[in-house]
Amino acid sequence: MDRILVVEDDRVWRQIILGGELERAGYSVDTVTNLAEAIEKLESGSYHVVLTDISLDLEPENYDGVKLLQWIREKYPTIKTLAISSRPVLGFKKEFFKKRYGALEYIERKDFEPRQFLELVAKAVRFSKEASQRIEGNDARNKDSYSRR
């Protein structure tokens, strides 16, 4: 089963909106409220996608969500991330953010639309799986070359 981790401090959004939509779509969902719990979950289990709340009002690096995105990209490159925020930003800024922090998408809460959202998540899961396979394939090739020797 495809596994999703939701990091969100607002109870309604965490359980009902995000958690609810994902479960109804048949995902295996874990929810946590902060950075520490998120890291704990990520260290102990494997996930395809992490959905995290970010607050981007001032310095992005100061926010837990942003830190989490950076940490995941370094430590678990196969996990795909989606950022969700209350802050509306212009299109080019959104692209800049995604590139910089490695998030697959920057979702504005006011524009939240369930269908689009689930499509996004499905895409992210697929990307995650592809990435894993690529890495496994590399590993296998490495093994082959090793055994052939």
């Binding site: 607002d10 309604v12 959004w13 009902i16 909106i17 607050s55 009002d57 001032l58 209350s86 802050r87 509306p88 809460r109 006011k110 939240f112 639309e113 369930p114």
Partner: protein, 887 residues
Amino acid sequence: MNVYTPLTDGYQQMHMASLDRLIDQTPTEDLVRLTTYLRRYISPLVTRDLFTRMHLNKLLQQHEISIVTALILDIRDFVQMTWSSERVVGLNAVANFLETLFSISIQIAFENKGLVGEFAGDRLLITFGFPGPGDALCADLTTSVLQAVRTAYNIHKMVEGIKRNWNLPQVLRQFDIGIGLCAGGPAWIGDIGSQWRREFTIISTVVNIASRAEELTKNEKMMVPAPAKKIVVDQIIIEEIIKQVGIDNLSKYDLGEVEVRGLNRSIPLFQLAELDTSLFPSSPSIAPNDMALSTWICEYIEGAMERQVSSKVHQLLSDVGRIVTSVPNQEITLQQIMNKVIEMFAVETATLYLTDPNTDELIFECILSDSANPPKRGDRLPSGTGVVGWAVDNKKEVLIADVHQDKRWYGKIGYDIRSMLCVPLLLHKRVLGAIQIMDKVPGKFSLNDLNLMVAFAGSAAMAIENARLYNYASMSTQAQRDIAEALTSSLDLTVVLDTIMETLQKMLNVHTATLYMVDQNTGELIFENIISKSENPPKRGARLKTGTGIVGWVVENQEEVLISDVREDERWYGKIGSDVRSMLCVPLIVKERVVGVIQAMDESPGVFSEEDLNSLKWLAASAAVAVDNAAQFQALEEAKSELETAHRKFIASETMAGLGDITGKLTHTLTTKISAIQYFAQHMLPRQGGESVQETSQLILENAQMALAEIMKMREPLTEWNLQRVDVDQALAEVAEDFREGLESTSITEVNIIHKPATHSLPIFSGKGQIKYIFRNLLDNAIRAIEEKGKPQGTITIHADRQQMDGINWAIVQVEDSGIGIDVSDLKRVFELNYTTRPEGTVGGYGLFWVRLTVERLGGAIDLKSSLGKGATFTVCLPLMSDEVES
């Protein structure tokens, strides 16, 4: 040597007690008189009689005695005899002769209980009947007459013996004596004279008549030749002798009525012939013990007097000693000393002066006087004034019987003063002052008093010095305590300096003192604290250039100075009171650095001593520490205060940023919530189906979208402060253009927005969002005002221009609308939070509030002029970037 012990001689304890009582009750001068009488005039027989009957006090009475008999003895032709003897045998022989004659005569007189009075050359007066009636031995006229007659006869016998038996030179053997007797009259017996010389005196007509009677013996023609004696007596003597021996046993010769000079009357006188005095009652002879008793009584009295004086001195000294050791306060000491003096000498007026060591003036310290207008304590006399001045200058005690006859007498303390005793208070040859006692009675004070006072003054001087030292010590302690207290209770430099100056004033009693601090940067001297009588003293904070005056010298040399007269000092600057003469100046040194100077001044030259300088140095040391502490504290306080100011500024500058921060969080939360509502309305409710749900969801959706829009609008001016150069007119143009487009697209409202371009560039330092936010809101407001008129047609005129006010260039933006206007009473409230004219239930009430906040944050101001129905004009002033900054 006679060793006489009265107790073993049968005298009882009671006699001793009586004598002691007499001594206790009798003033010293009377005791002295008593012993003089006992030694010189009184018969030992009388003495013994009076002593055994405890009547010695009778000898002290100086008054009339009712009946006496007087005997005058004179040597015939003494002048001739002396003259002859001078050349033949010398005057020594004459003196020896007289000595023999008189001593035997006195012996005879004493045996007959006579009172031996004056010697006047060759004359001797003996009185009988003393000390008066009531005495068993001298009870009456008869007794005294018989004693006198027997004395006269015995002396004659003695003279005859001398002439016959003694190996006298021929020239002296030719002498003869004459005796006059008179009885039955009163006499006054006592001492008369001045304090210089008082003499035992008998005043009596009886004596005068006896004298006249004796003179008759010179008249050979009148005298009956031997065997009649040359004894002339008056009628009463004759009568008394006849009473005693009978008329047959007396042979007498009538000399007739003899005139007595000055009496204006004649008295019958008689010459006595042979008389058998053995017919008289026997008279006791004088035993050795009688002489011894007399001597013993005298010695006893004198011993007692000595003991009395020494115990008085002892008592006094011990009292003073107590004062010396116990009393901490000089004033009390002086008072106690004077109380002792008054008590001791029983005088009316006593004064104590202390000398001023600086001026040598005499200062009244303590005066006990019954005068209505005594000198005040603290009054001063120039040195050398009066008797006191003399005593102080000469370091000698003075005893004056009558000050009116003394040239030194100053005469200002009570005119009726006569006696005076003045003793300097000496301590190690240093004169501290003088004690003076005075009395209206002339010659009141004796040499004893003087000696007593001298002894007393020595102790008193010590007491005063002690008190002074104690005062000084306690003052120092007090000063230390004051300063320590000031230091601990207040680290405020001003308070500490005030305390130091107060202490200085107390310790040195100065009228002018200054404390300077040294400016560590410029080296200037800063007046910190000044005690001055001057009406126009330098102000705190006034400055002196480095090196100015004596103070400047002290700072540069780090040395204290003691100047007795600044006028003779080249360093003297002369600006602080031209009447300054004496000066003390001490640097305040902290860690080898001069931080300030204390200066004490006086109008008289030579006022300050080394001791004062030491006091000031000590004070300066404390002050230096205090100043250092306080300065450090002050620096700390200043740093703290700076920090506080910075913090306040920081908080002030952060208020808006903080507000932005909070707004950011708030908008985040609100957006999160409202987005959730939006989600429910949009995606959850439709899934449930049904018409009503559709309507509800629509409502939720609308509200949520509205809230979101407002929140987005609000966060803009607060959260995005990317400050840059923004042209006001350009921003205004852009906003106007946006609105025109918006208005055209809806075509609901016909509002004409007229933008009059500015004639200058109007650069301000702002976030572009903020400035546009202001204008957008003002235009929003203007359109709403026009819509509210009911007829959605109108004009908005916007215009920006440059204007100079208070030296600052401003961008003035005016937004004028033809809308409904605002009631004058509401004008002030327009910019407050939650003020709105919109119907209830709609979001609003903070637009203009945020506008005002934003304008103010940009350093500008906003104003509104309007009246109901006549439109409104908003004026926004924003500070233009200065040209330099711009370039």
